[in-house]
Symmetry: C2
Subunit: 242 residues, 2 copies
Amino acid sequence: MNQGIEALKALPIFADFGGENLAILTSNSRVRQYPSGHYLYMHGDDIKNFKIVCRGTIQVFRETPDGHEVTSDILIAGDCINADEIIARHTAHMTNARVVDDAMVLEISISWMRLHLKDFDQLAPRLLQGLSERLRESQKEAVHRSTMSATQIVACYLQGLCVLYDFDPQGFDLPYSKTLIASRLHMEPATFSRTLQKLKGVGISVTGNHVAFTNLHKAGHFVCDECSVSAECPTHQALAAV
Amino acid sequence: MNQGIEALKALPIFADFGGENLAILTSNSRVRQYPSGHYLYMHGDDIKNFKIVCRGTIQVFRETPDGHEVTSDILIAGDCINADEIIARHTAHMTNARVVDDAMVLEISISWMRLHLKDFDQLAPRLLQGLSERLRESQKEAVHRSTMSATQIVACYLQGLCVLYDFDPQGFDLPYSKTLIASRLHMEPATFSRTLQKLKGVGISVTGNHVAFTNLHKAGHFVCDECSVSAECPTHQALAAV
DNA sequence: CGATCGTTTGATCCGCATCAAGATAGGTGG
DNA sequence: CCACCTATCTTGATGCGGATCAAACGATCG
Protein backbone atom coordinates (compact mmCIF):
# COMPACT_ATOMS: atom_id res chain seq x y z
CA MET A 1 0.00 0.00 0.00
CA ASN A 2 3.04 2.25 -0.23
CA GLN A 3 1.96 3.29 -3.65
CA GLY A 4 -1.32 4.34 -2.06
CA ILE A 5 0.32 6.59 0.51
CA GLU A 6 2.44 8.28 -2.10
CA ALA A 7 -0.53 8.80 -4.39
CA LEU A 8 -2.59 10.27 -1.59
CA LYS A 9 0.07 12.71 -0.48
CA ALA A 10 0.47 14.02 -4.00
CA LEU A 11 -3.20 14.97 -4.23
CA PRO A 12 -4.05 18.58 -3.39
CA ILE A 13 -7.30 17.52 -1.81
CA PHE A 14 -5.42 15.51 0.80
CA ALA A 15 -2.55 17.94 1.22
CA ASP A 16 -1.70 18.75 4.83
CA PHE A 17 -3.41 15.61 6.03
CA GLY A 18 -1.89 14.23 9.19
CA GLY A 19 -0.14 10.87 9.14
CA GLU A 20 -2.88 9.11 11.08
CA ASN A 21 -5.59 10.37 8.75
CA LEU A 22 -3.54 9.38 5.76
CA ALA A 23 -3.15 5.92 7.19
CA ILE A 24 -6.89 5.59 7.70
CA LEU A 25 -7.54 6.81 4.20
CA THR A 26 -4.97 4.52 2.70
CA SER A 27 -6.41 1.46 4.31
CA ASN A 28 -9.83 2.36 2.99
CA SER A 29 -8.89 3.14 -0.55
CA ARG A 30 -7.07 1.63 -3.45
CA VAL A 31 -5.13 2.88 -6.42
CA ARG A 32 -5.76 1.17 -9.72
CA GLN A 33 -4.40 1.33 -13.22
CA TYR A 34 -6.69 1.39 -16.21
CA PRO A 35 -5.87 1.18 -19.90
CA SER A 36 -7.00 3.66 -22.49
CA GLY A 37 -10.64 3.18 -23.39
CA HIS A 38 -11.60 1.55 -20.08
CA TYR A 39 -14.88 2.70 -18.57
CA LEU A 40 -14.56 3.74 -14.93
CA TYR A 41 -18.32 3.67 -14.80
CA MET A 42 -21.26 3.93 -17.15
CA HIS A 43 -24.54 5.73 -16.95
CA GLY A 44 -26.92 3.72 -14.82
CA ASP A 45 -24.25 1.89 -12.83
CA ASP A 46 -24.51 1.96 -9.08
CA ILE A 47 -22.36 4.62 -7.47
CA LYS A 48 -19.81 2.68 -5.46
CA ASN A 49 -16.63 4.69 -5.28
CA PHE A 50 -15.41 8.22 -5.04
CA LYS A 51 -12.63 8.53 -7.58
CA ILE A 52 -9.70 10.86 -8.01
CA VAL A 53 -7.37 10.98 -10.97
CA CYS A 54 -3.74 10.39 -10.00
CA ARG A 55 -2.33 10.16 -13.50
CA GLY A 56 -3.64 10.22 -17.02
CA THR A 57 -6.75 11.74 -18.53
CA ILE A 58 -10.42 10.94 -17.96
CA GLN A 59 -13.34 11.93 -20.17
CA VAL A 60 -16.69 12.44 -18.48
CA PHE A 61 -19.56 12.45 -20.93
CA ARG A 62 -23.25 11.86 -21.45
CA GLU A 63 -24.94 10.07 -24.25
CA THR A 64 -27.87 11.49 -26.18
CA PRO A 65 -30.80 9.40 -27.37
CA ASP A 66 -29.34 9.31 -30.87
CA GLY A 67 -26.09 7.87 -29.58
CA HIS A 68 -24.06 11.05 -29.80
CA GLU A 69 -21.55 11.66 -27.04
CA VAL A 70 -21.40 15.00 -25.24
CA THR A 71 -18.34 15.60 -23.13
CA SER A 72 -18.95 17.46 -19.89
CA ASP A 73 -15.39 17.46 -18.68
CA ILE A 74 -11.86 16.31 -19.28
CA LEU A 75 -10.11 15.54 -16.01
CA ILE A 76 -6.43 15.32 -15.20
CA ALA A 77 -4.25 14.41 -12.23
CA GLY A 78 -5.60 15.84 -9.02
CA ASP A 79 -9.17 16.22 -10.21
CA CYS A 80 -12.07 14.58 -8.44
CA ILE A 81 -14.05 12.59 -10.94
CA ASN A 82 -17.38 12.41 -9.19
CA ALA A 83 -17.29 14.76 -6.21
CA ASP A 84 -20.89 15.67 -6.94
CA GLU A 85 -21.94 12.11 -6.27
CA ILE A 86 -20.66 11.92 -2.70
CA ILE A 87 -23.95 13.39 -1.61
CA ALA A 88 -26.59 12.68 -4.18
CA ARG A 89 -30.21 11.72 -4.24
CA HIS A 90 -29.40 9.18 -6.89
CA THR A 91 -27.79 5.83 -6.36
CA ALA A 92 -26.78 5.51 -10.00
CA HIS A 93 -24.23 7.35 -12.08
CA MET A 94 -25.72 9.98 -14.36
CA THR A 95 -22.70 10.15 -16.63
CA ASN A 96 -20.04 7.94 -18.17
CA ALA A 97 -16.36 8.14 -17.29
CA ARG A 98 -13.79 6.71 -19.66
CA VAL A 99 -10.02 6.61 -19.70
CA VAL A 100 -8.44 8.65 -22.49
CA ASP A 101 -4.77 8.08 -21.68
CA ASP A 102 -3.65 5.22 -19.53
CA ALA A 103 -4.65 6.34 -16.10
CA MET A 104 -4.10 5.77 -12.42
CA VAL A 105 -7.17 6.30 -10.28
CA LEU A 106 -7.63 6.46 -6.52
CA GLU A 107 -10.87 4.88 -5.41
CA ILE A 108 -12.53 5.31 -2.04
CA SER A 109 -15.77 3.64 -1.04
CA ILE A 110 -18.44 6.29 -1.31
CA SER A 111 -20.33 5.09 1.73
CA TRP A 112 -17.14 5.29 3.73
CA MET A 113 -16.55 8.82 2.44
CA ARG A 114 -20.02 9.89 3.52
CA LEU A 115 -19.55 8.34 6.90
CA HIS A 116 -16.21 9.97 7.58
CA LEU A 117 -16.73 13.30 5.87
CA LYS A 118 -17.03 15.05 9.21
CA ASP A 119 -13.99 13.38 10.72
CA PHE A 120 -11.71 15.25 8.42
CA ASP A 121 -12.17 18.92 9.00
CA GLN A 122 -10.16 19.79 5.95
CA LEU A 123 -11.92 17.47 3.56
CA ALA A 124 -15.39 19.02 3.33
CA PRO A 125 -14.12 22.56 2.67
CA ARG A 126 -11.90 21.28 -0.12
CA LEU A 127 -14.72 19.36 -1.71
CA LEU A 128 -16.80 22.51 -1.43
CA GLN A 129 -14.10 24.52 -3.09
CA GLY A 130 -13.74 22.01 -5.87
CA LEU A 131 -17.45 21.94 -6.56
CA SER A 132 -17.66 25.72 -6.41
CA GLU A 133 -15.00 26.13 -9.03
CA ARG A 134 -16.56 23.50 -11.21
CA LEU A 135 -19.91 25.25 -10.95
CA ARG A 136 -18.45 28.65 -11.76
CA GLU A 137 -16.66 27.21 -14.73
CA SER A 138 -19.80 25.57 -15.99
CA GLN A 139 -21.79 28.77 -15.68
CA LYS A 140 -19.03 30.81 -17.22
CA GLU A 141 -19.05 28.51 -20.20
CA ALA A 142 -22.81 28.79 -20.47
CA VAL A 143 -22.42 32.55 -20.73
CA HIS A 144 -19.62 32.16 -23.23
CA ARG A 145 -21.66 29.89 -25.42
CA SER A 146 -24.50 32.35 -25.59
CA THR A 147 -22.41 35.45 -26.15
CA MET A 148 -19.28 34.41 -27.99
CA SER A 149 -18.59 32.91 -31.39
CA ALA A 150 -17.08 29.46 -31.77
CA THR A 151 -13.80 31.11 -32.71
CA GLN A 152 -13.71 33.16 -29.54
CA ILE A 153 -14.55 30.14 -27.43
CA VAL A 154 -11.73 28.12 -28.94
CA ALA A 155 -9.29 30.99 -28.39
CA CYS A 156 -10.36 31.16 -24.77
CA TYR A 157 -10.03 27.41 -24.37
CA LEU A 158 -6.55 27.19 -25.85
CA GLN A 159 -5.40 29.92 -23.52
CA GLY A 160 -6.93 28.03 -20.63
CA LEU A 161 -5.17 24.82 -21.65
CA CYS A 162 -1.86 26.62 -21.78
CA VAL A 163 -2.34 27.94 -18.27
CA LEU A 164 -3.74 24.71 -16.85
CA TYR A 165 -0.83 22.59 -18.07
CA ASP A 166 1.72 25.32 -17.56
CA PHE A 167 2.77 25.04 -21.19
CA ASP A 168 5.09 27.41 -22.95
CA PRO A 169 2.85 29.86 -24.82
CA GLN A 170 5.43 30.11 -27.57
CA GLY A 171 4.80 26.52 -28.54
CA PHE A 172 3.20 23.39 -27.12
CA ASP A 173 1.36 20.26 -28.20
CA LEU A 174 -2.31 19.66 -27.60
CA PRO A 175 -2.63 17.18 -24.72
CA TYR A 176 -5.46 15.31 -26.42
CA SER A 177 -7.12 14.83 -29.77
CA LYS A 178 -8.96 17.58 -31.58
CA THR A 179 -12.06 15.44 -31.71
CA LEU A 180 -12.10 15.26 -27.93
CA ILE A 181 -11.56 18.98 -27.55
CA ALA A 182 -14.33 19.71 -30.01
CA SER A 183 -16.66 17.46 -28.04
CA ARG A 184 -15.62 19.16 -24.83
CA LEU A 185 -16.47 22.55 -26.38
CA HIS A 186 -19.81 21.24 -27.61
CA MET A 187 -18.99 21.78 -31.24
CA GLU A 188 -18.47 19.63 -34.29
CA PRO A 189 -14.96 18.56 -35.27
CA ALA A 190 -15.50 20.27 -38.62
CA THR A 191 -16.38 23.57 -36.97
CA PHE A 192 -13.44 23.26 -34.62
CA SER A 193 -11.06 22.67 -37.47
CA ARG A 194 -12.30 25.68 -39.43
CA THR A 195 -12.08 27.75 -36.30
CA LEU A 196 -8.38 27.03 -35.93
CA GLN A 197 -7.68 28.56 -39.31
CA LYS A 198 -9.37 31.81 -38.37
CA LEU A 199 -7.25 32.06 -35.24
CA LYS A 200 -4.05 32.53 -37.22
CA GLY A 201 -5.19 36.05 -37.95
CA VAL A 202 -5.10 36.93 -34.27
CA GLY A 203 -1.77 35.45 -33.29
CA ILE A 204 -2.71 31.86 -32.51
CA SER A 205 -1.30 29.37 -34.97
CA VAL A 206 -2.22 25.71 -34.82
CA THR A 207 -0.55 23.26 -37.20
CA GLY A 208 -1.08 19.59 -36.62
CA ASN A 209 -1.40 19.33 -32.89
CA HIS A 210 1.17 22.01 -32.25
CA VAL A 211 -0.03 25.33 -30.89
CA ALA A 212 1.88 28.60 -30.78
CA PHE A 213 0.81 32.00 -29.61
CA THR A 214 2.80 33.95 -32.15
CA ASN A 215 1.72 37.34 -30.97
CA LEU A 216 2.07 37.25 -27.23
CA HIS A 217 1.06 40.82 -26.80
CA LYS A 218 -2.22 40.17 -28.52
CA ALA A 219 -2.60 36.69 -27.13
CA GLY A 220 -1.97 37.90 -23.62
CA HIS A 221 -5.23 39.73 -23.74
CA PHE A 222 -7.07 36.53 -24.40
CA VAL A 223 -6.36 34.93 -21.07
CA CYS A 224 -9.76 34.39 -19.65
CA ASP A 225 -8.86 32.44 -16.57
CA GLU A 226 -11.42 33.67 -14.12
CA CYS A 227 -13.13 36.05 -16.43
CA SER A 228 -16.71 36.62 -15.48
CA VAL A 229 -17.73 38.13 -18.78
CA SER A 230 -18.12 41.56 -17.35
CA ALA A 231 -17.96 44.85 -19.12
CA GLU A 232 -14.42 45.36 -17.87
CA CYS A 233 -12.99 42.07 -19.08
CA PRO A 234 -10.21 42.85 -21.56
CA THR A 235 -10.32 39.34 -22.95
CA HIS A 236 -13.71 39.70 -24.49
CA GLN A 237 -12.96 43.14 -25.75
CA ALA A 238 -9.89 41.79 -27.50
CA LEU A 239 -11.73 38.77 -28.86
CA ALA A 240 -14.63 40.86 -30.06
CA ALA A 241 -12.64 41.62 -33.18
CA VAL A 242 -12.27 37.95 -34.09
CA MET B 1 -34.85 38.77 16.25
CA ASN B 2 -37.88 36.53 16.43
CA GLN B 3 -38.40 37.01 12.74
CA GLY B 4 -34.87 35.72 12.29
CA ILE B 5 -35.49 32.50 14.21
CA GLU B 6 -38.64 31.80 12.27
CA ALA B 7 -36.93 32.50 8.97
CA LEU B 8 -34.02 30.21 9.85
CA LYS B 9 -36.21 27.32 10.91
CA ALA B 10 -38.13 27.48 7.65
CA LEU B 11 -35.00 27.01 5.58
CA PRO B 12 -34.20 23.45 4.52
CA ILE B 13 -30.49 24.09 4.89
CA PHE B 14 -30.94 24.74 8.59
CA ALA B 15 -33.58 22.11 9.19
CA ASP B 16 -32.93 19.86 12.20
CA PHE B 17 -30.61 22.43 13.69
CA GLY B 18 -30.54 22.31 17.44
CA GLY B 19 -31.84 25.25 19.49
CA GLU B 20 -28.42 26.33 20.62
CA ASN B 21 -27.03 26.35 17.08
CA LEU B 22 -30.05 28.24 15.85
CA ALA B 23 -29.50 30.83 18.54
CA ILE B 24 -25.87 31.26 17.56
CA LEU B 25 -26.83 31.56 13.92
CA THR B 26 -29.58 34.02 14.65
CA SER B 27 -27.32 36.35 16.57
CA ASN B 28 -24.84 36.32 13.72
CA SER B 29 -27.25 36.93 10.88
CA ARG B 30 -29.98 39.28 9.86
CA VAL B 31 -33.07 39.12 7.73
CA ARG B 32 -33.71 42.02 5.43
CA GLN B 33 -36.43 43.11 3.05
CA TYR B 34 -35.57 44.44 -0.37
CA PRO B 35 -37.81 46.01 -2.99
CA SER B 36 -38.09 44.85 -6.55
CA GLY B 37 -35.13 46.00 -8.61
CA HIS B 38 -32.75 46.24 -5.66
CA TYR B 39 -29.26 44.90 -6.22
CA LEU B 40 -28.12 42.49 -3.51
CA TYR B 41 -24.65 42.84 -4.94
CA MET B 42 -23.01 43.79 -8.18
CA HIS B 43 -20.09 42.35 -10.08
CA GLY B 44 -16.88 43.57 -8.54
CA ASP B 45 -18.31 44.25 -5.08
CA ASP B 46 -16.52 42.73 -2.13
CA ILE B 47 -18.03 39.46 -0.95
CA LYS B 48 -19.36 40.22 2.50
CA ASN B 49 -22.33 38.02 3.18
CA PHE B 50 -23.64 34.58 2.52
CA LYS B 51 -27.25 35.05 1.46
CA ILE B 52 -30.30 32.83 1.41
CA VAL B 53 -33.65 33.67 -0.12
CA CYS B 54 -36.48 33.50 2.42
CA ARG B 55 -39.20 34.96 0.22
CA GLY B 56 -39.48 36.40 -3.25
CA THR B 57 -37.40 35.89 -6.37
CA ILE B 58 -33.78 36.72 -7.10
CA GLN B 59 -32.14 36.95 -10.51
CA VAL B 60 -28.45 36.11 -10.72
CA PHE B 61 -26.87 37.33 -13.92
CA ARG B 62 -23.69 38.39 -15.63
CA GLU B 63 -23.17 41.30 -17.94
CA THR B 64 -21.42 41.04 -21.29
CA PRO B 65 -19.09 43.69 -22.64
CA ASP B 66 -21.85 45.00 -24.87
CA GLY B 67 -24.14 45.52 -21.91
CA HIS B 68 -26.34 42.49 -22.50
CA GLU B 69 -27.54 40.63 -19.43
CA VAL B 70 -27.22 36.85 -19.22
CA THR B 71 -29.18 35.19 -16.45
CA SER B 72 -27.43 32.27 -14.78
CA ASP B 73 -30.15 31.48 -12.30
CA ILE B 74 -33.51 32.45 -10.88
CA LEU B 75 -33.67 31.71 -7.17
CA ILE B 76 -36.64 31.27 -4.88
CA ALA B 77 -37.31 30.75 -1.19
CA GLY B 78 -34.87 28.28 0.33
CA ASP B 79 -32.17 28.74 -2.29
CA CYS B 80 -28.66 29.79 -1.40
CA ILE B 81 -27.72 32.77 -3.49
CA ASN B 82 -23.96 32.55 -3.35
CA ALA B 83 -23.02 29.23 -1.79
CA ASP B 84 -20.16 29.01 -4.24
CA GLU B 85 -18.60 32.11 -2.73
CA ILE B 86 -18.25 30.76 0.80
CA ILE B 87 -14.96 29.27 -0.23
CA ALA B 88 -13.57 31.15 -3.15
CA ARG B 89 -10.25 32.38 -4.34
CA HIS B 90 -11.85 35.67 -5.19
CA THR B 91 -12.78 38.39 -2.79
CA ALA B 92 -15.15 40.05 -5.23
CA HIS B 93 -18.51 38.94 -6.59
CA MET B 94 -18.33 37.54 -10.11
CA THR B 95 -22.02 38.02 -10.78
CA ASN B 96 -24.88 40.41 -10.08
CA ALA B 97 -27.86 39.55 -7.91
CA ARG B 98 -31.03 41.57 -8.24
CA VAL B 99 -34.46 41.32 -6.67
CA VAL B 100 -37.24 40.40 -9.11
CA ASP B 101 -40.17 40.29 -6.71
CA ASP B 102 -40.05 41.97 -3.33
CA ALA B 103 -37.83 39.69 -1.37
CA MET B 104 -36.74 38.73 2.10
CA VAL B 105 -33.13 37.66 2.39
CA LEU B 106 -31.16 36.08 5.22
CA GLU B 107 -27.64 37.40 5.40
CA ILE B 108 -24.77 35.82 7.30
CA SER B 109 -21.28 37.25 7.44
CA ILE B 110 -19.21 35.16 5.08
CA SER B 111 -16.12 35.25 7.27
CA TRP B 112 -18.20 34.01 10.16
CA MET B 113 -19.56 31.24 7.97
CA ARG B 114 -16.08 30.13 6.97
CA LEU B 115 -14.96 30.17 10.55
CA HIS B 116 -17.84 28.09 11.83
CA LEU B 117 -18.38 25.75 8.92
CA LYS B 118 -16.88 22.88 10.87
CA ASP B 119 -18.87 23.57 14.03
CA PHE B 120 -22.05 22.56 12.33
CA ASP B 121 -21.74 19.01 11.17
CA GLN B 122 -24.90 19.24 9.18
CA LEU B 123 -24.07 22.44 7.35
CA ALA B 124 -21.16 21.41 5.14
CA PRO B 125 -22.90 18.32 3.75
CA ARG B 126 -25.96 20.39 2.88
CA LEU B 127 -23.91 23.01 1.15
CA LEU B 128 -22.17 20.22 -0.70
CA GLN B 129 -25.47 18.78 -1.73
CA GLY B 130 -26.76 22.15 -2.90
CA LEU B 131 -23.68 22.83 -4.97
CA SER B 132 -23.74 19.32 -6.40
CA GLU B 133 -27.28 19.73 -7.61
CA ARG B 134 -26.54 23.13 -9.04
CA LEU B 135 -23.56 21.73 -10.89
CA ARG B 136 -25.52 18.80 -12.26
CA GLU B 137 -28.26 21.13 -13.40
CA SER B 138 -25.77 23.40 -15.10
CA GLN B 139 -24.13 20.51 -16.91
CA LYS B 140 -27.44 19.02 -17.83
CA GLU B 141 -28.47 22.28 -19.40
CA ALA B 142 -25.20 22.46 -21.29
CA VAL B 143 -25.99 19.10 -22.81
CA HIS B 144 -29.53 20.19 -23.55
CA ARG B 145 -28.40 23.31 -25.33
CA SER B 146 -26.10 21.37 -27.59
CA THR B 147 -28.52 18.57 -28.41
CA MET B 148 -32.04 19.96 -28.21
CA SER B 149 -33.92 22.62 -30.14
CA ALA B 150 -35.14 25.80 -28.47
CA THR B 151 -38.64 24.37 -28.53
CA GLN B 152 -37.59 21.25 -26.69
CA ILE B 153 -35.67 23.25 -24.13
CA VAL B 154 -38.68 25.43 -23.40
CA ALA B 155 -40.92 22.39 -23.06
CA CYS B 156 -38.45 20.90 -20.60
CA TYR B 157 -38.26 24.14 -18.67
CA LEU B 158 -42.00 24.61 -18.36
CA GLN B 159 -42.32 21.09 -17.02
CA GLY B 160 -39.58 21.82 -14.55
CA LEU B 161 -41.31 25.00 -13.41
CA CYS B 162 -44.52 23.11 -12.85
CA VAL B 163 -42.75 20.56 -10.69
CA LEU B 164 -40.61 23.08 -8.83
CA TYR B 165 -43.55 25.23 -7.80
CA ASP B 166 -45.90 22.31 -7.40
CA PHE B 167 -48.33 23.90 -9.83
CA ASP B 168 -51.37 22.21 -11.24
CA PRO B 169 -50.32 20.91 -14.67
CA GLN B 170 -53.84 21.51 -15.94
CA GLY B 171 -53.34 25.25 -15.60
CA PHE B 172 -51.02 27.70 -13.86
CA ASP B 173 -49.52 31.15 -14.29
CA LEU B 174 -45.89 31.78 -15.07
CA PRO B 175 -44.18 32.95 -11.87
CA TYR B 176 -42.17 35.60 -13.69
CA SER B 177 -41.99 37.49 -16.95
CA LYS B 178 -41.34 35.86 -20.27
CA THR B 179 -38.40 38.16 -20.83
CA LEU B 180 -36.77 36.84 -17.67
CA ILE B 181 -37.44 33.24 -18.59
CA ALA B 182 -36.01 33.80 -22.05
CA SER B 183 -32.88 35.29 -20.51
CA ARG B 184 -32.65 32.33 -18.12
CA LEU B 185 -32.82 29.95 -21.07
CA HIS B 186 -30.18 31.93 -22.95
CA MET B 187 -32.49 32.81 -25.79
CA GLU B 188 -34.04 35.96 -27.24
CA PRO B 189 -37.55 36.97 -26.16
CA ALA B 190 -38.60 36.79 -29.81
CA THR B 191 -37.37 33.22 -30.12
CA PHE B 192 -39.03 32.28 -26.86
CA SER B 193 -42.33 33.74 -27.99
CA ARG B 194 -42.30 31.88 -31.28
CA THR B 195 -41.38 28.71 -29.45
CA LEU B 196 -44.51 28.87 -27.33
CA GLN B 197 -46.68 28.75 -30.42
CA LYS B 198 -45.04 25.58 -31.61
CA LEU B 199 -45.68 23.92 -28.26
CA LYS B 200 -49.43 23.97 -28.76
CA GLY B 201 -49.02 21.14 -31.22
CA VAL B 202 -47.63 18.87 -28.50
CA GLY B 203 -50.13 19.54 -25.75
CA ILE B 204 -48.65 22.60 -24.07
CA SER B 205 -50.74 25.72 -24.54
CA VAL B 206 -49.51 29.11 -23.35
CA THR B 207 -51.80 32.12 -23.64
CA GLY B 208 -50.75 35.31 -21.94
CA ASN B 209 -48.88 34.09 -18.91
CA HIS B 210 -51.19 31.14 -18.38
CA VAL B 211 -49.84 27.69 -19.06
CA ALA B 212 -51.82 24.50 -19.47
CA PHE B 213 -50.67 21.02 -20.28
CA THR B 214 -53.68 20.04 -22.31
CA ASN B 215 -52.49 16.59 -23.15
CA LEU B 216 -51.25 15.17 -19.90
CA HIS B 217 -50.43 11.82 -21.36
CA LYS B 218 -48.13 13.42 -23.87
CA ALA B 219 -46.90 16.10 -21.54
CA GLY B 220 -46.14 13.56 -18.87
CA HIS B 221 -43.41 12.20 -21.04
CA PHE B 222 -41.71 15.56 -21.07
CA VAL B 223 -40.84 15.66 -17.40
CA CYS B 224 -37.11 15.85 -17.40
CA ASP B 225 -36.49 16.33 -13.72
CA GLU B 226 -33.31 14.42 -13.24
CA CYS B 227 -32.92 13.30 -16.76
CA SER B 228 -29.33 12.71 -17.71
CA VAL B 229 -29.96 12.76 -21.43
CA SER B 230 -29.33 9.10 -21.82
CA ALA B 231 -30.52 6.80 -24.53
CA GLU B 232 -33.21 5.49 -22.19
CA CYS B 233 -34.70 8.85 -21.30
CA PRO B 234 -38.32 8.88 -22.49
CA THR B 235 -38.45 12.66 -22.33
CA HIS B 236 -36.05 13.19 -25.14
CA GLN B 237 -37.57 10.48 -27.20
CA ALA B 238 -40.97 12.16 -26.86
CA LEU B 239 -39.56 15.59 -27.55
CA ALA B 240 -37.62 14.41 -30.53
CA ALA B 241 -40.81 14.72 -32.56
CA VAL B 242 -41.20 18.41 -31.71
C1' DC C 1 -54.93 59.95 -22.98
C1' DG C 2 -50.12 59.64 -24.08
C1' DA C 3 -46.02 57.17 -22.33
C1' DT C 4 -43.53 53.24 -21.26
C1' DC C 5 -42.71 48.52 -20.91
C1' DG C 6 -43.49 43.75 -22.28
C1' DT C 7 -44.88 40.74 -25.87
C1' DT C 8 -45.83 39.26 -30.52
C1' DT C 9 -45.00 38.91 -35.40
C1' DG C 10 -42.57 39.55 -39.68
C1' DA C 11 -38.41 39.74 -42.71
C1' DT C 12 -33.78 38.89 -43.13
C1' DC C 13 -29.13 37.34 -42.11
C1' DC C 14 -25.39 34.75 -40.22
C1' DG C 15 -23.18 30.91 -37.89
C1' DC C 16 -22.86 26.48 -37.02
C1' DA C 17 -24.45 21.73 -38.10
C1' DT C 18 -24.79 18.50 -41.43
C1' DC C 19 -23.51 15.66 -45.21
C1' DA C 20 -19.93 14.21 -48.00
C1' DA C 21 -15.58 13.80 -50.05
C1' DG C 22 -10.55 14.30 -49.84
C1' DA C 23 -6.16 14.43 -47.21
C1' DT C 24 -2.95 13.04 -43.70
C1' DA C 25 -1.06 10.16 -40.40
C1' DG C 26 -0.27 5.94 -37.73
C1' DG C 27 -0.17 1.13 -37.65
C1' DT C 28 -0.03 -3.59 -39.60
C1' DG C 29 1.31 -7.20 -42.39
C1' DG C 30 3.34 -8.83 -46.50
C1' DC D 1 10.29 -0.70 -47.56
C1' DC D 2 6.08 -0.48 -49.47
C1' DA D 3 1.07 -1.36 -49.93
C1' DC D 4 -2.90 -1.29 -47.28
C1' DC D 5 -6.12 0.02 -43.74
C1' DT D 6 -8.23 2.67 -40.44
C1' DA D 7 -8.68 6.61 -37.60
C1' DT D 8 -8.26 11.43 -37.49
C1' DC D 9 -8.42 15.60 -39.56
C1' DT D 10 -9.48 18.96 -43.19
C1' DT D 11 -12.19 21.17 -46.70
C1' DG D 12 -16.25 22.05 -49.51
C1' DA D 13 -21.28 22.72 -50.41
C1' DT D 14 -25.64 23.26 -48.45
C1' DG D 15 -29.47 23.93 -45.20
C1' DC D 16 -31.65 25.20 -40.99
C1' DG D 17 -32.30 27.42 -36.54
C1' DG D 18 -32.09 31.10 -33.94
C1' DA D 19 -30.30 36.01 -33.66
C1' DT D 20 -31.14 40.40 -35.22
C1' DC D 21 -33.62 44.41 -36.73
C1' DA D 22 -37.89 46.49 -36.91
C1' DA D 23 -42.61 47.41 -36.41
C1' DA D 24 -47.15 46.54 -34.51
C1' DC D 25 -49.76 45.34 -30.62
C1' DG D 26 -51.24 45.12 -25.82
C1' DA D 27 -51.15 46.27 -21.02
C1' DT D 28 -50.24 49.11 -17.13
C1' DC D 29 -49.70 53.55 -15.06
C1' DG D 30 -49.33 58.23 -14.09
